[in-house]
Amino acid sequence: MLEQYIPIGFMFIVAIIFGIVMSKLSEWLGPKNPNDVKLSTYESGMEPVLSARERVSVKYYMVAMLFILFDIEVVFLYPWAVNFRSLGLFGFVEMLVFTVVLMLGYIYLLKKGALKWQ
C-alpha cells in the first residue's frame, strides 16, 4: 500500500538534498569580495528607514482570509476533478452551480471594493 507514496517520498528527499547542496555549494565555491554597497540591506535599492519588525497592516489579514475561502473551494474541486470523466455532463453542471454561487460572492467582493488596496 505504501508503494504508491514512494515517488512522493523520493521527491521530498531529492528536494531537501537539492536545497542543502545548492546553498552550501554557493557558500563554498562563490567568490567573496564584500564592500559597503554589497553589504547594504537592499543592494542598489533604498536604505531601510525603519525596523522591519513592525505590526503589519490589517489589510493583509483580509487577503489571507479570502485566500482560505478560495482554498477550501479548491478542496471541493479536487474530488470532482478525479471523477470528471465518469460523472460527465451531470457532474459538470453540478460543479458549475457550486462555482457560480461562489462567483457571486467574488463579484460582491469586487463591487464592495473589498479587494481594492486603500
Partner: protein
Amino acid sequence: MSLFDIAFYFFALITVASAALVVFSRNIIYSAFALLFTFFGVAGLYALLGADFVAVAQLLIYVGGILVLLLFGVMLTTKLVSVDMKTGTLQALPATLLFAAVAGALSGVYIITDWNVLAGAPDAATTAVTIGDMFLTTWLLPFEIASVVLLVALVGAAMIARRDARSKPTQQAAL
C-alpha cells in the same frame, strides 16, 4: 519492523516533536512555524492510514491557509520587538490541575473504548474517487450548501473590509 511501521514512527516523531516545540517555545513566531511541521506530520499520518483525501485537505487548508492566517494574526496583534511577544509561565497550579484532568480524561477514553482494530494496513485504493462520487450523487445537497456557506463567509469578509474602509481616517491617525 515493516516499512509501514518506520513511516508511522517517522511521522509520529515529526508531529510530537514539533508539537512540543509549539508548546515550549518562548517566542510565539517559532511556535507558529513549528505548527507547520505538526500539521505536516498529521497529514502524513492521514496518508498512512489510507485517508489520502483528508491528507490533501490537511495540506491545502491547514498548512496552506490556516497557518498563514495564524501567522498574520501573530504579526497583527503583537509588537514583535517588545517583550509581550514572549510567553511566560503563570498560573502554574490551575494549569497543572487542568492538565491532569484533561490527560486523565483522554487516557480514560483511550483505555475504556473498544477500539476497532484492523488486521494490517488499510486498502490502497484512493478515497478521493469515492468521496467525489458521493458528493455529486448521494450527498449533492450538502455539497451545494457548502458553496452557500462559503458565500456567506465571503460576504462576511466583505463586510469586515467595508468597515475597515469606513474607519480608515481614524486608523491613519493611529498610525
